[in-house]
């Protein structure tokens, strides 16, 4: 059997001839980032083969073409390269890279009474503490343990996880930990993840990865705060519908195919057998609104108290899926729109996550010189989602990018000379440099147009479903940790949001987590929200014949 030596990880693996390098790495527990799950479209799983003998490997043609200079240096796509002989593989050690991710953990919230589903009562005559769930006794503990009473509110994002440790006696958030969702290393966007988890071995891998990460986080939180994990009784899973399926070890296949139905509807508890918490512990799943408007939005509606607001409020979570709710004097409608993973840096030539080296801010000053900021104050090595939207918004504003999305050539443009110097050619095509080695291409702009067009079309369709004009929207609340790093002007300048929203945009942060906290601490909001989601009008875009026209119109700047 051929042997693979993964140099960076210092690990040797024997494999069957004919398996791909990616499969071999996965079987050995080595993570090679493969955002598209080995379909061959993203090009991010490149590894370098050292002194490879002819015939020891074979590359199949993939959608993504590696640049010739990389091929000459021995780079191949791990997902499309089959192993036939011994090989030395140089794959980056991902554990080191993802430590610098910028994740927001705070979100808007409201006042509520502390009245959790779980209760602890000390029975003095017996010297025991009873653990109750929904008023029924589910277990007992020796001595008086009523002071040790904890819960977790977890925001399960497609890319990031935020876990808050809550004291269920006081409602205080003791600590919070953020981490990369380990599933994103195997399959980055929602659809790719559904596809992967539709196969039994894929679900095993994805579920195992997130369960281990949860348990690791629980351990870490307990250690940091000197508490015992057996005193954690309840966990809230707040995330999009697909993430909830994957966190519950449920095959999400029906979500990936028209008519896109969810297996899990939420609004119930499940045993927390796989989590290292109290043996009596359980997990509450907030109710979903529709297949693509999940518990994270339900949490957001709760945290922002949308149904109680006077006037008209638009609530949007900008991400791979733009999920949004329009609330007009207590009447709610929701929809979701497939923006694609461009905002997470995928399919963008110099795209990357919001970690060290990512350009996250780009502003063109009145004299034409750009002001930039790079995460970690290091040399820019790529562009993250917020940086990308900033760049596009600014370049549209000053005319480097025309209304149709075309890069305007220096001799035809009226923009400042300092910017003209940044327009160069690469492989015969115009590119615009935003840092020494970082640039955007025409096709990157097209990707952003598709993504922002999808969000804008969703906003327009939702407003038309409730008969609301953009001018009559009083407040626009942007949720999600990604949204928090954006600026109102870059959203409006590029037309992701209508001009009429200027001055009305508010960034409310991680309401998926703050809402989850409310679900944890007050059992009454559970029933309340379970009833409310049934009244939210589900606006299904893919079935509406008007969608294409609205979307196409929204593509221009």
């Amino acid at each position: 059997m051929p042997e693979l030596f993964f140099q960076e990880q210092d690990q040797r693996v024997s494999v069957e001839a004919g398996v791909t390098i990616l499969q071999a790495a996965r079987d050995a527990g080595i993570i090679i980032e493969s955002p598209c799950d080995g379909v061959g479209t993203c090009g991010k799983c490149q590894v370098q083969l050292k002194d490879a003998a002819p015939g020891s490997w074979k590359c199949e043609e993939a959608h993504y073409q590696l640049p010739a200079e990389l091929q000459e240096q021995g780079y191949v796509l791990a997902c499309h390269t089959k192993v036939y002989g011994d090989l030395i593989v140089v794959a980056p050690n991902t554990a080191k890279q993802n430590k610098t991710l910028k994740i927001l953990s705070e979100g808007e919230s409201f006042q509520y009474e502390i009245k959790p589903w779980f209760q602890k009562v000390y029975a003095a005559p017996k010297g025991k503490t009873f653990v109750l769930a929904g008023g029924k006794k589910v277990g007992e503990e020796e001595g008086d343990t009523t002071k040790q009473f904890y819960g977790l509110a977890i925001d399960i994002g497609t890319t990031t996880l935020v876990t808050a440790l809550i004291d269920m006696n006081t409602g205080e958030e003791i600590d919070s930990l953020s981490a990369l969702n380990p599933q994103s290393l195997h399959a980055q966007d929602v659809i790719t993840r559904i596809h992967m988890a539709s196969k039994p071995e894929g679900l095993v891998l994805l579920y195992g990865a997130i369960r281990d990460e949860f348990n690791h986080t629980i351990q870490e939180l307990c250690k940091r705060n000197s508490i015992e994990s057996r005193y954690i009784y309840e966990v809230i899973y707040s995330g999009n519908t697909t993430m909830i399926h994957l966190a519950c070890n449920v095959n999400p296949e029906p979500l990936g195919q028209f008519p896109y139905t969810a297996v899990i509807r939420g609004g119930n508890t499940v045993p927390a057998d796989d989590l290292e918490i109290s043996p009596y512990g359980d997990i509450y799943l907030p109710p979903i609104i529709s297949a693509y408007v999940g518990p994270d939005i339900t949490s957001g509606v709760l945290a922002a108290q949308l149904e109680k607001k006077k006037g008209t409020t638009l609530f949007i979570d900008i991400g791979t899926n733009g999920e949004m709710i329009l609330a007009q004097d207590g009447k709610l409608a929701g929809t979701s729109t497939a923006a694609g993973p461009a905002f997470e840096g995928m399919n963008i030539t110099c795209g990357m996550r919001a970690g060290n080296g990512a350009l996250e801010l780009y502003q063109i000053q009145p004299d034409g010189t750009p002001k930039t900021h790079v995460i970690g104050d290091v040399k820019a090595s790529g562009i993250c989602g917020s940086g990308l939207l900033d760049i596009i918004g600014e370049l549209v504003r000053v005319g480097v990018i025309g209304k149709s999305g075309r890069l305007v050539k220096p001799d035809k443009g009226k923009y400042p000379d300092v910017l003209k110097a940044q327009m160069k050619e690469k492989d015969g095509k115009p590119v615009f440099y935003v840092a020494e080695e970082v640039y955007i291409t025409q096709s990157d702009i097209r990707q952003v147009q598709l993504a922002k067009g999808a969000i804008r079309a969703g906003v327009e369709m939702l407003m038309s479903a409730l008969g609301v004009e953009a001018e009559h929207v009083d407040c626009v609340e942007i949720a999600g940790s990604f949204g928090y790093h954006l600026r109102e002007s870059s959203l409006i300048d590029q037309g992701m949001l209508p001009e009429a929203f200027r001055g009305k945009v508010k960034f409310v942060g991680n309401t998926s987590k703050s809402g989850a906290k409310a679900f944890l601490l007050n059992q009454e909001v559970r029933t309340y929200m379970e009833n409310l989601v049934d009244e939210i009008k589900d606006v299904e875009l893919s079935q509406d014949p008007k969608f294409q026209d609205v979307f196409v119109k929204a593509l221009t700047f």
Binding site: E60, H195, G256
Partner: protein
């Protein structure tokens, strides 16, 4: 004198093609009216002017100069002109280059990309039967048999639905129409190796690519 008329025809033909390329819906309609008012009803003129405009629009789209909205606006201008020509074109439809059935496979409701391919292929002179989205294998095969299609173009935007392409090809074999009809697959998650794996004949990366593939098919398999 004959030369002057030919010159005038050529000039107006160019004007209409330019109007379509430049997305000028009204100019396209006005120019089409000038042509019919002058009584120039030859197929040559009516058909080639519209086709030339659309083929230039397709070229600009492929070069990245145009994006989806521009291409669709060109198609609107072409449609306006064609509407005016239609009454005069009766019975003199030109021979199509070939016949193509196109659709998005089962489980997939995305169709903007597929619509663009249909548009560009039609502009290149093919008869296109667009049977929509979320199309079952049965419906694809029924259409291929009914239209005696030279080629079938299958689209999918999602990794979760692309495997249905294989179902269509298998059903074609079972119903005996696989030999007479070439299969082209395309869409975001599709790759040449995937096309090969499921037994498709061609992988297409773009609308322009599809036209080149069809031209090749008609050269090698056409009658």
């Amino acid at each position: 004198m004959a030369d002057a008329v030919a010159e005038a025809k050529e000039e107006i033909r160019r004007r209409l093609a330019d109007a379509i390329r430049d997305m000028e819906v009204e100019t396209a309609a006005d120019t089409a009216r000038v042509i019919t008012t002058a009584g120039w009803f030859e197929m040559e003129l009516l058909e080639t002017a519209v086709a030339a405009g659309m083929s230039e629009a397709s070229r600009l789209y492929e070069e990245g100069e145009y994006f989806i909205p521009e291409l669709l606006s060109c198609a609107d201008a072409a449609e306006e002109a064609t509407k005016i020509f239609r009454p005069y074109m009766m019975g003199q439809r030109p021979e199509p280059k070939g016949c193509v059935v196109i659709g998005s496979v089962a489980g997939d409701t995305h169709d903007i990309g597929k619509n663009i391919v249909a548009l560009v292929v039609e502009a290149a002179g093919y008869d296109v039967f667009d049977i929509g989205r979320d199309v079952s294998a049965e419906r694809f095969v029924d259409a291929v048999i009914e239209k005696q299609a030279d080629a079938l173009a299958l689209a999918s935007l999602m990794t979760t639905s692309m495997n249905h392409m294989a179902d269509v090809i298998q059903l074609m074999e079972r119903r005996g129409c696989r030999q007479s009809c070439r299969v082209i697959v395309g869409g975001k998650p599709i790759s040449p190796s995937f096309a090969q794996k499921i037994g498709a004949d061609y992988y297409s990366a773009s609308a322009g690519d599809t036209v080149r593939i069809l031209d090749e098919i008609m050269k090698t398999h056409g009658n």
